[in-house]
Chain length 462, copies 2
């Protein structure tokens, strides 16, 4: 199949301009899944993907409704019935682009500057999804599919893939496969490809604290009422102890401890304090004592405030004693924590700590379990070789601090492992203003995925 | 002068409808001093007051520019040159009306429902200011001014009267007087008039906490960076100790302790836990141990959060690790605290407590000293008698938790005491949605002020 690989890679090169135009067109659809007002854009993005798949020769393309945003599905059958089946997973939704004033070019008007393309979703994950689709196009236009390929693109990854459990459970035959390709993770650095074998899960909450039943004058009543913003601060401040550990009761009970071998491997990656300071711009690193910075983001669970609001935040002064304060709180989970258990732990914390001077409400906004997978499967070996061929470097095996809920779902519901890779870099401002993607890595990624599909076929023949 | 008093009070009664129409017209001007976009409304309100004063026969009416919003000044000379001079203080600016959706009728479209009028500023203090002006009108239209009256209406009370120190210092001759009438305080309850002999001061701050130099993905970086919202919560939570005391270093050093006699007097007012729970709707009272609820708001200094914001506060989830968090913080001060000293104490607290994992900035947004005055002056006795005549009850002497910065300024810069009273009640939603004023008390208040002016003249003749 050497000639077939070369032909597909040449095809990628000669269609580079068109691919970039299509990339920009995809980014231009503001498919922000968390916003109700984005409904039309979500629909438009699903249709764009479906039309695009039909255009490159994918069969059985369908937009399938779910309890939320629809799923796009398509299928390519290999001429070899014995070939393995790979399910390519992706998502067409993106994070909100706010704060818009910090973008140097329009969030939905993708712009190339230097070696990068900038725009919401270029790295997470419209660019990554297109890399897989373009690689498939190159194979189909220059030869035959060496393996069976199924494509599944969802529209709710950025809001926790909340309809995926039902969808996968009710479409087990449709999705049946030998392995999943998930290109929604990233490289270790802009020059070092990676395969991600573990992802963190998540539990997301919204906490409301109420005090007086209306806003009060801070002079007339200041001193005699527990200020809800102060009470919220006290509750949030108590969620970590002096060692940077999360204080929710039982939070660490199910956490798998990392072994010395893996600790040594992680230490070799060189992602140290200086690395994290450079990536974040924070004045110093922070976190749970007894763990390296990298272990804190890859191996340990965390608790973060994602947003906070109480009363008057305009310019100037307003001497009000607020009636309420609220915070968005999310935990990143590791094996074997369970999001619903963490929800119960948060409730237990609040029941124990919230004072009688305020009332509170906790809304659970969904979650997902963490995932950890076999580092020596046929799929992982096929990807390892593919990345090595293109980058001429041995890819690293890494965990990732983020969550890709479907990885755990595929493991649990379909009994299949995912090969997680991607071509974004840690400094790509994922979920932030000026999200970017290195175009050289994007192009290399497509080539690597061509090799991956052919490698899988060869492994399947052994 | 008994007949003159009666004639003035009859005039008030026969002009009641017009007074109410004028009141609504004054409220309709949205003179929110903290908003830049209110500049035209501020100007309009100043002109409305000036025109109104001219219309009732006040002389020398002028709109005088300051470093901020203008001051309206006017003067009425008594035929008796030996009569005392009273300076009537008021403000034509109001607090912001947000959150607008909680108003049952338009904030700037004053509406009478039952015995109350509702609208922003009806109680603080457009209604109170008009009560004094209408009382003066009644006297001028039915007789002669028994005392010299000067009127000073400022436009920045709700933003800390920041230009008043300069204005008073540079207009000492214009403002020269024997005492000040300040109708910007309130009644002890809807049936019990009061004279306020002490007011709290204020120190207002905006605190910013910065962590990473851009918003981060909470998966990729959660656990290794000190979340600025968490850090802000930790700093705010540390500003009170377990006894409800403010922990800024030296905060209580200059606080005058209350004597047993005054404690006993305050205890007799019946403003107990049940009272404060009913007024605020809070599930329980809170505050500094060792002091009654009423002492906490009248005699003790406090620290409140007036607003708080960090990153994503829209619907749904955004798994962001914020780059910043901010809080509006204000302290209510008592004699002999100094706002600039409290600013230094806040800086010292932050310097000692802020961890090296974040950076912070504190903006001081102004302040004022507390005021405490003589309870047996001629002015206070004149007001005590006036209130007693109308309400047929002995008025109570009270402190107030709020701040009226000019009271301290008049004391310091002009060497004169203020007689502080007013006709609003504790449940009038001052600074909150559905601000209201009891119209019966408003009308009684005008009558009482007629008596006050005549009482002053008689006291002056003795």
């Amino acid at each position: 199949m050497a000639n077939a690989r070369e032909a597909a890679i040449e095809y990628l090169e000669s269609n580079d301009h068109r691919f970039l135009d299509e990339f920009k067109a995809f980014v231009a659809i503001p498919s922000v899944s968390t916003l109700v007002e984005s409904e039309p854009a979500i629909q438009q993005a699903a249709e764009w993907v479906a039309d695009h798949l039909k255009g490159i020769g994918v069969q059985e393309v369908r937009i399938i409704p779910t309890g939320g945003h629809p799923v796009v599905f398509g299928e390519v059958c290999s001429a070899n019935p014995a070939a393995p089946t790979v399910l390519v997973y992706g998502h067409y939704d993106v994070q909100p682009a706010e704060p818009l004033e910090l973008w140097m070019s329009g969030a939905f008007d993708a712009q190339v500057r230097g070696e990068h393309i900038y725009g919401r979703g270029v790295t997470d994950m419209k660019g990554q999804a297109l890399a897989a689709i373009n690689a498939l196009e190159a194979i189909l236009k220059t030869g035959q599919a060496p393996v069976h390929v199924k494509l599944l693109m969802e529209g709710e990854e950025e809001i926790g893939s909340k309809n995926m459990p039902d969808f996968i459970a009710s479409h087990k035959d449709l999705l049946a496969c030998d392995l999943v390709l998930n290109p929604d993770t990233g490289m270790a650095s802009e020059v070092l490809p990676a395969i991600t074998y573990a992802l963190r899960g998540m539990a997301f909450f919204e906490l409301w604290v109420h005090g007086p039943d209306h806003d009060l004058h801070s002079g007339t009543f200041g001193g005699v009422v527990h200020n809800p913003a102060v009470a919220l601060c006290e509750l949030v401040a108590g969620m970590h102890d002096a060692q940077g550990r999360v204080t929710l009761p039982g939070f660490y009970d199910r956490v798998r401890e990392i072994g010395q071998e893996e600790r040594d491997e992680l230490a070799r990656l060189g992602m140290d304090e200086a690395y994290f300071k450079a990536q974040t711009g924070a004045p110093a690193v922070w976190g749970e004592q007894g763990y390296t910075p990298l272990e804190r983001v890859w191996v340990r669970p965390t608790l973060e405030i994602n947003g906070m609001l109480s009363d008057f935040t305009g310019g100037g002064r307003k001497t009000v004693l607020p009636a309420w304060a609220t915070a968005k709180i999310s935990c990143r989970l590791v094996p074997d924590q369970d999001p619903e258990e963490v929800h119960q732990q948060m409730l237990a914390y609040l029941e124990a700590k919230a004072p009688p001077t305020i009332t509170w409400k906790l809304h659970a906004l969904g979650g997902s379990t963490a995932a950890i997978s076999d580092r020596h499967s046929a799929g992982v070996l096929a990807m390892q070789d593919a990345l090595q061929r293109v980058w001429k470097r041995q890819p690293v095996f890494r965990r990732e601090g983020g969550s890709v809920p479907v990885v755990g779902l595929f493991q649990r519901l379909l009994g299949v492992e995912s090969v997680n890779t991607g071509f974004s870099s840690p400094g790509d401002n994922m979920h932030s203003p000026n999200e970017k993607l290195h175009l050289g890595n994007w192009r290399k990624g497509m080539q690597a995925l061509v090799h991956f599909f052919y490698n899988l076929a060869e492994a399947g023949h052994e």
